[in-house]
């Protein structure tokens, strides 16, 4: 008998916090609000830790059913939580990074209006995210999926009086809705063909099926539709456009929702559905191609951005692309590994960027920064760790996870690998560009801000000149820096003398349901052959090759560093010259390849015009409104005519009665004589 873990406590605790702060927070002092938010998210983290420590003694996977939710015919969906290695990793990331960002937010948001509202939303987000990762079926997962979208919308539009923030919130919500549509259709297909949405039941029904090689079938359709959902949530081409705009939200939100946790929900969902994807090579290929394109595409845009948060946003899109490459080549555990390390270093980078913005009084343009190295040393050093981690410099976390993905990508296709490698170079370049621009050379901002009289801006506390953030913000930075430094060590590959414990840990999830494919099929596709690689212990002969590839990716990172050093430290005038010599190409990249404009012209404007002309004017106004208006008008006219009968004259009433009676009698006589 398995012990009752009370997993339901994990999502419920932040919900209680959200409810308390949301309902009573207005009357609370800031200390109370922060105390409530921190204690409930902290309690959730402690509960997850307790589960983690008892994990080895549990029968995994562990399912905890609370109640039946929907029962309709043979279909049943439960309020049930599912714990296995994958959800444990996600739980730890969400609650751990979430708690750190809660702590940071206390400092960052202290002087902002709507303090209680912010923490209520943040806790609400935690509730939905934990529901998403703990759900035992797709339907409950979908609740969390929609819920995090809602929380994301609320938090992007946190400064709702600002038009751009409100618009960004709407954009995020609507673009996500497109993805959700695909996700929903996939769910309908699952119900129709497998009669269940439960992960285990679906896996059991799908497992005996053979891969749909050389064509498309049901599983391919489901996989592709799930990928549409994942692309919406995880900001992949073509639905990535909302994420850069989402930077309108407060920076801790960007860190928590739009870097560390929510945007990785798509990766989690694809990994959770690996049984389906493994049997749909076409869908997997699409996943890998979308991932590759997104990684490269976003990285090139990131190179030209000047807003510190926008650089990080495009970097997030690009890194999510990496995770999808990993999923696409069947290396799900590598995807989750990168998801975890990315949560650490991107969370760190966003928080550090927030700290920089805080320090210079709300300025986000890197061209107005510079020379902050000595002024905000804690931020500088933690951000340095984050930058080196994302660039893939060993032995920091990003190196191991990215290297793992590149190696697995190489085994699948050299194109993925080459593109990934080039993206790694770009990543290293734009991150070090950010690093040099922000922290080195001379301060380029307005002298006023430096002297401590900055003009009014988004943040209320720019009156003290450039200053280090309070300890409550620095401590999460340091913790995340340590994690970004060491987080990769749990997945050291065999080639570097490790044993890739992370891969082995997650392997239980990704291999237990993998069917014993017959050898021909294994040899048939590159995807399945990569799959075979996971099954067998890595051969010793591969280590040398793998080591060479590690070397190449480190070299790419160093080249990126060198380029950034050359352009933004050695010869600060060169970037301008290069930009002007590239002309139109540069302009295109600066304007994000005009994708937003393209969508506006191709989709949004025709849609709005069509809605206005056909749906609003044509159907709503001319049909629905007109029907109602005309019937009301008709009733009015008829009553207007009839009301003259009520003259008040008794004898005319009597006349009407007599006439009516005469009519009735005449009718009856006529009926009788018939």
């Amino acid at each position: 008998m398995t012990p009752n873990l009370h997993l339901w406590l994990i999502p419920l605790l932040p919900l209680v916090g959200a409810a308390i702060n949301g309902i009573f927070g207005k009357k609370f002092s800031r200390q109370t609000v922060a105390g409530v938010a921190l204690s409930f998210s902290g309690a959730a983290f402690l509960k997850v830790l307790a589960v983690a420590f008892s994990f080895s003694s549990l029968a995994i996977p562990h399912t905890e059913t609370l109640a039946t939710w929907i029962r309709a015919g043979s279909f049943q969906a439960d309020f049930a939580f599912y714990l296995d290695q994958l959800s444990l990793v996600m739980l730890l990331v969400v609650t751990g990074v979430g708690l750190l960002i809660h702590v940071y937010s206390v400092g960052y948001m202290w002087e902002e209006g709507g303090f209680y509202r912010f923490f209520a939303y943040l806790n609400l987000f935690m509730f939905f995210m934990l529901t998403l990762v703990l759900a035992s079926n797709y339907l409950l997962m979908f609740i969390g999926w929609e819920g995090v979208g809602l929380a994301s919308y609320l938090l992007i539009g946190f400064w709702f009086t600002k038009d751009s923030a409100a618009a960004a919130g709407k954009k995020a919500f609507i673009v996500n809705r497109i993805g959700d549509f695909g996700f929903l259709i996939a769910l309908f297909l699952l119900i129709k063909h497998f009669g269940s949405l439960n992960f285990e039941v679906v896996a059991r029904s799908v497992s005996p099926l053979s891969p749909e090689t050389g064509g498309a079938g049901l599983l391919t359709a489901i996989g592709l539709l799930l990928m549409v959902g994942a692309a919406g949530k995880s900001a992949q081409i073509p639905l990535y456009v909302w994420l850069p705009d989402a930077m309108e939200g407060p920076t801790p939100v960007s860190a928590l929702i739009h870097a560390a946790t929510m945007v990785t929900a798509g990766v989690y969902m694809v990994s959770r559905s690996h049984v389906i994807f493994e049997r749909a090579p076409t869908a997997l290929m699409v996943v890998a191609i979308v991932g590759t394109l997104t990684a490269l595409f976003a990285a090139t845009i990131g190179v030209t951005q000047t807003d510190i948060k926008k650089v990080l946003a495009y970097s997030t899109v690009s890194q999510l692309g990496y995770m999808f490459i990993a999923c696409g080549v069947g290396a799900f555990s590598a995807a989750i590994f990168h998801l975890m390390t990315h949560a650490f270093f991107k969370g760190l980078l966003f928080l550090a960027a927030g700290s920089v913005i805080h320090a210079v009084g709300g300025e986000q343009d890197m061209r107005q920064m510079g020379g902050l190295r000595t002024k905000i040393p804690w931020t500088f050093w933690t951000m340095t760790v984050g930058t080196f981690a994302i660039a893939g410099i060993p032995p920091l976390a990003g190196f191991f996870s990215k290297d793992e993905i590149l190696w697995r990508a190489y085994q699948a296709s050299r194109v993925y690998w080459a593109t990934g490698l080039f993206t790694a170079l770009l990543t290293s370049f734009y991150m070090f560009r950010l690093w040099f621009l922000t922290f080195f050379a001379e301060y380029r901002g307005t002298a006023e801000a430096a002297d401590g009289h900055s003009p009014p801006h988004g943040h209320a506390d720019g009156h003290r000149g450039i200053h280090e953030s309070p300890m409550v913000m620095v401590i999460p930075l340091v913790v995340l820096a340590v994690l970004s430094f060491t987080g990769g060590w749990i997945g050291v590959p065999g080639s570097l003398g490790g044993s890739n414990r992370f891969d082995k840990f997650l392997g239980a999830v990704f291999r237990s349901t993998t069917p014993a494919l017959d050898p021909q099929q294994q040899a048939a596709g590159e995807v399945t052959s990569a799959e075979k690689e996971t099954e067998a212990p890595e051969p010793q002969s591969g280590h040398a090759t793998e080591l060479v590839f590690s070397g190449i990716s480190v070299l790419a990172a160093l080249i990126g560093f060198g380029l950034a050093w050359l352009l933004y430290w050695r010869n600060p005038l060169w970037p301008q010259q290069i930009a002007s010599s590239l002309g139109g190409l540069y302009q295109a990249v600066v304007h994000k390849y005009y994708i937003d404009e393209l969508y506006a012209t191709l989709l949004v404007k025709p849609l709005i015009a069509g809605s206005a002309l056909i749906l609003w004017h044509g159907i709503d106004r001319d049909v629905i409104d007109a029907t109602l208006d005309n019937s009301a008008h008709g009733a009015n006219e008829v009553s207007d005519a009839v009301r003259h009968m009520q003259s008040g004259n008794l004898r005319s009433y009597a006349g009407w009665v007599a006439a009516g009676a005469a009519l009735v009698i005449a009718y009856m006589v006529w009926m009788g004589t018939r």
């Binding site: 003259s647 008040g648 004259n649 008794l650 004898r651 007599a658």
Partner: protein, 100 residues
Amino acid sequence: MVPISYYLILSGILFACGVTGFLIKRNIISIFMSIELMLNGVNLSFVAFAAQWHALSGQVFVFFVMVVAAAEAAVGLAIIISVYRTRETLNVDQVDLLKL
């Protein structure tokens, strides 16, 4: 025995007189009397049928009608007095305030 059709014709004549009086008279008291005429026209046909079919229910019904008519007369006359006191007229064409 007088055939029932005679009674019915008399009853119809009485009822028609009542209706006509109701419609053409302007004095409230005349209208009131016309109503009594209509009621009694109907009463006559009741008792005629009762005698014809040897059924008592027709007779009983007439008593009910009389009771109702008596009650109605009491209430109606009270209303007429009240109307006369406030409006100083018994002409129904001038008592027409209850309208849209």
